[in-house]
Structure formats: C-alpha cells, structure tokens
C-alpha cells in the first residue's frame, strides 16, 4: 500500500513537445542535489519550494507541480547560484526558462508574467523603454487598484525630482520589423 502511494506521487505528467524543456532537463540532469543554490539564494525565504527541490521536479518532469510553485517567479537574476554551482548547472538560466514555459503553457501563470510581457511590449512599441508608460500599462494589466496605490509614494517622489516623462516617440516602431522576424522564427521551432 505504501509503495502504491509512493508510486502515485511520482506519476510523471506527459510533457508538451517543447525543445526548450528538453534542453532544460538535459542541463538539470547534471544537478546532484547538493543545495548550494538554495543556500546562496537571497530570495529563498520568500519561496515555497527551494531551488534544489525545483530542479528535482524538473528532473522528474513534474511540470504541474512546478507551475503551482512561486519559486521561479521569486528569482531576481542575481546569478549567485550560478557562480557557486559545483556542477556547472546554470540555475539562473533555468529560472528564466521556467518563467517562459509557465507563461506559454500554463493559463494560471499568464498573470504572473504580466510585468515581463508589459516590458517586452513597451520595447516593441517604443524602441527604447519608456518607464512611465511601462509602469502604467503593467499596473493597468494587474487590474488591482490596491497594488497601483502602493506605487503612489514612489511615483510622487519621482515626479518631484522630474523623473517621470510622457513617452518619447522618437524610436517608436523602430524594432517592429525585428520583433516580427523573431516571432516568425520562434513559431517555426
């Protein structure tokens, strides 16, 4: 009976045919579960699974459990784990890959990637990031007046220092052709 439960816990979710996921699993097959990444992570306290546990789930292909976790959304790309990893796994790269995979394959994760999508949209639209427009489109996409209000003090402070500007259109659309080409190339793979 006990064995049965154990077996059930290890049921492997069928994976979407995704070359990026295969690359990610190949890289993480080197992970020996030493936990150096977890010990090095400045945001580990705010994570539900430790980075080490996350890599184990990637090895096991348990994507649904990975997508339920907030761990990879808490990565601030500081590369401390990458620097210290004794097996040359590149954990920061893996965290970014999981953000992309979750954004693509998991409906519930779409909202969590809103900031990154707003950022990319801002670049596509303006060519060079326009910070005020970026923050307003991100906060609008959250549809949460409470979250928007949290940024009022910093907004006022920046306004007072003349750091907020209406978006410049000097490079608007400059990257559209390149974005379209990248879209086309990514659809091909």
């Amino acid at each position: 009976m006990r064995q049965m439960t154990k077996h059930q816990a290890l049921t492997i979710t069928p994976l979407p045919q995704d070359s990026e996921l295969c690359e990610l699993q190949a890289m993480l097959s080197r992970c020996m579960q030493c936990g150096t990444c977890t010990a090095s992570c400045p945001n580990a306290q705010a994570m539900d699974l430790t980075p080490r546990q996350l890599w184990r789930l990637v090895q096991l292909g348990q994507l649904d459990r990975i997508f339920e976790s907030r761990t990879f959304w808490m990565c601030s790309s500081c590369y401390t784990c990458w620097l210290r990893c004794p097996r040359d796994v590149e954990p920061t790269r893996a965290m970014a890959a999981l953000k992309r995979l979750a954004g693509e394959h998991d409906r519930a994760s779409r909202r969590k990637s809103a900031f990154y999508r707003a950022f990319a949209g801002n670049i596509r639209r303006y060519g060079r990031v326009q910070e005020t427009a970026l923050m307003s489109s991100y906060l609008t996409s959250l549809a949460s007046p409470r979250r928007a209000l949290e940024f009022t003090p910093i907004g006022m402070k920046m306004l007072g220092k003349g750091k907020l500007h209406p978006p410049s259109r000097a490079f608007a659309g400059r990257l559209e052709l390149l974005f379209r080409k990248v879209d086309e190339m990514e659809e091909r793979t």
Partner: protein, 307 residues
C-alpha cells in the same frame, strides 16, 4: 592618452537615471576619454525580456553590437548599466562557442541588413576606469581633499556574475581601487555584491524590501553607498522609508553613483553632476558637498546647526 569609446547609455540613463548619464559623460571628459553614442541604438531587453523570449534576449542586444561593428571605427563600448552590460556581454560569451545561436541571431538581424561578427566588445565603466584610465590618472585629477569620507562600495550582481571578466566576483576590488585613488576610504562590509532585489521591487516588493533593508542597514555607517547601476541606485535610494519597516535604518542613507562622487572629488559642480536628482542624500552629505569632507568635526557641528 585619449581613449575613444562607443557609448551605450541604455534606456534608464535617458529616463529616471539621467544623473548617471550626465556624471559619466562629465567624468570621462575630465579623464580625457572620448565617448561617441552608438547611432540609432535601441533597448537591450533589460533583465525582463529573458523571461518572455529566449531569442529576443540575444537579438535585442546584438542589434546594438552590430551597429557598432558596422557604423563605428571603435570596438570597445562603454556601458554604465549593469543589466545592459550583462545583456551585451551574454551575446559575446554565448556565441563564441554556439555557432547555431550566432546564425539564428544573424538571421533575425538580416531584416535590418545588420550582422554581428563578434568584434564589438562591451566594457563596464569600472573595467574602463581600472584597466584603461588607471588609478594614477584618477588620483592626478582629484582636486578635493576627500580624506574624511567613507564609502560603502556597492557592486550589485550583474557586472561580475555570471561572467567575471574584469574582477573577482567573490571579492570585488575594482571600485575600492577607484575610491582609494580619490582619497576616499572604502568601508569594509559583507553585502557589497548582494542582490538589491532588482525588478522584484515591482513584482514581489516584500522580498526586495527585505534585501534593500539588509543592505542599507549594513552600509549605514558609511557617508554614502556608491553604486554603478541604475537599478541598484533606485532600489536603494527610493524605497528607504518602506525598507525601514523591514529592519532597514530609520535615518536616511545617502546613495550616489560612482561618477557623481568622482566628479565631486574632481571639483565638478553639483549641477554638472545633477546631484539635485538624487532621491536620498542625508543632511551630512549635503553639508560635505558644500564644505568638504576633510574635517569631519566641523561638519557635524554644521549639521546640528541646520537641524
């Protein structure tokens, strides 16, 4: 000797970090380095695009490298922003062995008749200061006596991780050397390369505020935290009152860009360095700017009088 660099300011330096752009240009001018902005440069993708598209992560910065290769007669690019520096450097490092990636990048760039070959070379401000300009030249330009000033050199993450090109990521020294050349005393502390939280400040503020609180707390004995990244700067200077609720210090910690401090030591004016744009300068720092830092005793008296 005059050095000549292509200059990639990056988007932030035209927006909320305009004082970083201004002070870099000012200080490099004093140090006889010539900067030419890359014509038609566009965003490198910052630290956000990697979470959306793997290919854009390479193509956006590569476009700027290709512009340098095709339109300019220099290879070295001065990059003051840590995220821009890493993004440009990642193209150089990852295409060196991955020819398939290089071909993909160039296929995308072909829509703009651009091509990246691997010649352009991104260089961080600290790298150029230490290895091209040299501490001797920096010391020679220093006009003010900065001997009473102690600084917490803050390196942040992305200039030495994951690619440690010009300094030791475990124990960075490059900014310490610049500070010593100015006559400033670098404070000994442990959080010099600890993450400030980066864009988690927007998406998961509670995690970033805990990091900022810890960094400010361990730097609070210094006269200023000195940064070389617009993201580190804004996280450390703009959220101090919020960070106080997470164990951060109650009193203002001054946070300045390295070239702003260099400019002050070189005798540049506050206007030339746009110090009016900084969001957290303690009264003690303001008094020091006007009266000098050499004699700490009289400075403290002035601050008390002002209060």
């Amino acid at each position: 000797m005059t050095h000549h660099y292509a200059y990639y300011p990056g988007c932030s330096l035209l927006e909320s970090a305009v004082e970083y752009d201004r002070s870099v240009r000012q200080v490099m001018d004093v140090l006889d380095a010539e900067l030419t902005e890359i014509p038609d440069w566009t965003c490198c993708g910052a630290s956000a695009v990697e979470s959306v598209s793997r290919l854009l992560t390479y193509v956006l910065p590569a476009r700027n490298l290709a512009l340098v290769e095709q339109l300019m007669d220099v290879d070295d690019i001065l990059v003051p922003c840590s995220a821009c520096y890493l993004n440009l450097l990642r193209v150089v490092e990852d295409t060196r062995h991955d020819k398939k990636l290089l071909a993909q990048i160039n296929e995308a760039l072909s829509v703009e008749d651009l091509r990246y070959t691997g010649r352009a070379k991104p260089r961080h401000l600290l790298d150029i200061l230490i290895n091209d300009v040299g501490t001797g030249a920096i010391a020679a330009r220093t006009e003010r006596d900065m001997s009473g000033f102690s600084a917490a050199a803050y390196y942040g993450c992305q200039i030495l991780r994951p690619y440690p090109v010009f300094d030791d990521p475990r124990q960075p020294r490059s900014m310490h050397l610049v500070l010593e050349a100015l006559g400033v005393k670098p404070m000994a502390w442990d959080d010099e390369a600890r993450c400030c939280g980066a864009s988690l400040m927007v998406t998961k503020p509670e995690a970033a505020l805990a990091s900022v609180a810890r960094i400010l707390d361990s730097a609070s004995q210094a006269d200023a935290v000195v940064t070389v990244c617009p993201m580190c700067q804004i996280n450390l200077e703009a959220y101090q009152s919020k960070a106080a609720g997470y164990g951060g210090p109650r009193e203002t910690v001054s946070v300045v860009y390295l070239p702003q401090l260099m400019g002050l030591a070189f005798g540049c004016t506050e206007d030339e360095l746009m110090l009016n744009k900084n969001m957290s300068l303690a009264p003690r720092f303001r008094a020091g700017m006007r009266q000098g830092w050499a004699t700490q005793g009289s400075l403290e008296e002035t601050v008390v009088e002002e209060a």
